[in-house]
């Protein structure tokens, strides 16, 4: 009996020790793959070295389902999460995310305050942006020996550029692509989409190529489909295509015309036990140098203006990273920012309509 008591008290003491140690552990959740690797190299490793905090990196597949479950159950185990802007807006609306103080963010090296240094629209009351990523379309150069497609309209022109296409299975951002492919300029896209006739027009455009489209769901799929020769062109996240080209020598070419760009932001789930420590990490990881460092690992643009001149070469492939960014001037000519407010308003009906359209 005595030894049993001793054992239990030891076990209890062990439990307490474990929970005490937890304060120095941050659970940071991101998308996995090359993207998480870029964060580990640029943020986690130097931060661990500097502060001694243990970082526990977890992967998820996007969306707010896990956050909602944790917050509703009152047992929040994630401290920091990499979210898309639309999820930040929604999570903030529904009270799933902590509000973040914007005043503690470090200024740029030349003293510009953070609020001015961050690109317009990249700071949210519940999220601090780290990168700008983009949905573009890319094509397989070997399939078009006489010159490949140049514009978004070419993507929808199966006569001039025959071959299968791969697109994301969902209305976003296919409706935007469809309207731009139909000649709507980028700055008018959401205006047109706000009318029922505009939505019909977008679906009619998708109808034209539907027989030639294969649908993907995970970001890793489109480069794979291109590599397998299943499709001749595919919409994709620009970082994935860049990685396939730079590290696997794939013959893919990105068409930047009509790109739809978006943000990824750091957010803290409501009720995180390590909120203060998570905020410290956000401050560290969003300074000018750290954001520029991340761009050496993946071709997503930093959210700070002062980081852009510091972008160097790819850490492994040695490619100059500046021209690979969605925000590089020659890539950014006909670009559209994904309007997450518009999508928050219309996603319920459009998801259903898209699903009904697919099932027809």
């Amino acid at each position: 009996m005595k030894s049993f008591l001793k054992l239990t008290s030891l076990a209890v003491a062990g439990l307490f020790a474990a929970s005490a140690a937890q304060a120095d552990t941050l659970t940071i959740v991101s998308w996995g793959g090359a993207y998480t690797k870029s964060q580990i190299e640029a943020y986690h490793k130097p931060y661990i070295k500097k502060t001694g905090v243990t970082i526990n990196s977890e992967d998820y597949s996007g969306g707010l389902a896990e956050v909602k479950a944790q917050v509703e159950a009152g047992n929040v185990t994630w401290d920091l999460i990499d979210l898309e802007l639309s999820d930040v807006v929604r999570g903030c609306d529904e009270g799933l995310l902590e509000e973040l103080p914007l005043d503690g963010l470090p200024p740029a090296p030349d003293g510009t305050p953070a609020a001015k240094d961050f690109l317009p629209g990249t700071l949210h009351e519940c999220g601090i942006a780290t990168i700008i990523w983009s949905t573009i379309y890319a094509y397989d150069k070997t399939k078009f020996p006489n010159g490949g497609p140049q514009t978004m309209a070419d993507f929808f022109d199966t006569k001039k550029f025959p071959g299968k296409r791969a697109m994301r299975k969902g209305p976003k951002p296919n409706l935007e692509f469809a309207l731009m492919g139909d000649g709507v300029p980028a700055d008018k896209v959401y205006e047109v989409l706000s009318t029922p006739a505009g939505v019909d027009r977008a679906f009619a455009m998708l109808d034209k190529i539907r027989a030639d489209v294969l649908w993907w769901e995970a970001g890793a799929q489109p480069p794979q489909m291109l590599a397998d020769g299943e499709v001749a062109m595919a919409t994709a996240y620009n970082g994935r295509i860049f990685n396939a080209v730079a590290t696997e020598n794939m013959p893919f070419e990105i068409v930047w015309d009509g790109q739809v760009w978006d943000l990824d932001l750091w957010s803290i789930p409501k009720g995180s036990k390590n909120k203060a420590a998570a905020i410290e990490f956000i401050k560290y990881s969003t300074d000018t140098q750290r954001l520029a460092d991340q761009a050496a690992w993946i071709s997503y643009g930093p959210a700070r203006a002062s980081s852009i001149p510091l972008i160097g070469k790819h850490a492994e492939a040695g490619v100059e990273m500046g021209p690979q960014m969605p925000t590089a001037p020659e890539n950014f000519k006909n670009a559209l920012q994904n309007d997450c407010e518009w999508w928050a308003d219309h996603q319920d009906e459009l998801n259903e309509r898209f699903a009904a359209w697919l099932a027809k």
Partner: protein, 423 residues
Amino acid sequence: MADIPANQATLTTADGVPLKTKLRQTQRRMKMRALGLVLPLLAFIAVTFIWPIGLMVYRGVDNPVFSEVMPNTNAALARWDTQADEIPPEDIVAIVARDLAQARRDKTMGRVATRMNYDLPGSRSLITSSARKLAKIEGDVVWTEEMVKIDKRWGERKTWMAMRLASERYTMAFYMAALDRTFDEDGNITMQPEERQIYVTLFLRTVWVSLLITVLCILLAYPISYLMATLPLRTSNLLMVMVLLPFWTSLLVRTTSWIVLLQKQGVLNDILVFIGVFSDEGRIRMIYNMTGTVIAMTHILLPFMVLPLYSVMKTISPSYVRAARSLGATPARAFWKIYFPQSVPGIGAGSILVFILAVGYYITPALVGGESGQLISNFIAFHMQKSLNWSLAAALGGILLGGVLALYWIYNKLVGIDNMKMG
């Protein structure tokens, strides 16, 4: 001989208690003991099964957002005489406006906006921007005018009617939405616009695919079960291993194996091209569509048909068929009249198992279904994981549960559940 008094006629035990009472006591004690034995299981089922399912069905009608965030709105809008007034009168509008402004100050209006957007697409930004502006208004104003000034949609009956329905403490809106129905601006139930109708089609497709898979499983499982039940032990054991081996293999492994076999650049297409059935350009699509879903699910659910069929066939004595043959029946007639009826309980058990599993199947259609092979469970998952409309997911699940229970009831009426044998 003296008459025996009536009370003497009842038998008693040694201690004088009537035997009938004693027997009843003993039986009760035994029943309690039996109950005590199953109590842990009962508690387990209640906690892990009945309670969550009850919660889910409840979540489909539960609608707490307005009562938590805008507590005065529901009562106020309920007073609105919808026959007489096009939009609510000023005193009601004032209460709603103050509630909205308060929700903005509490930073809870996002929940209201999300809730409203389910019923009235596009109203999310209407709520958030209006609440923001209303929170800045101080003093007495004509609220109706102010709100229409902020957004002209506040002058429309549609908006107010949607809010009235969305503010009810319990709602049928999610179950209606799960059946492609909605409320019009007079509160009547109507169909969704045609381009948004999807769930009824999906329910029907799910039932149809499940039935098809059940029939395919019967056709495939019957001969092999028959062989297993009748062949000598060594051969039938080998067959049994061949049935059980895939049964023990992970679901994901089996599903992805089908992808390897059936995809365009896959094994089957390669072979068909090699032997010249069609050219390299003519490769056919056998997966990422309905065909893929049906093939993979039939394969995965087949053991659930084979095992009950086998265990029933094992008990059918071969002498009956022999007797029928010796009385002059043809082999086909002997099988149909004697053997088959005795195997029906196994078909029943297998069919119920396969059908109910198929109706709720999720992983396989998600992986191999492409866009045409998706079932209702995939959309339940979509609303759980992506759109976060858990109430609609609950309503879809509730309808699925109701449907399965109804089918079970019909089956019981037609075949009788007592006729079902697992072995």
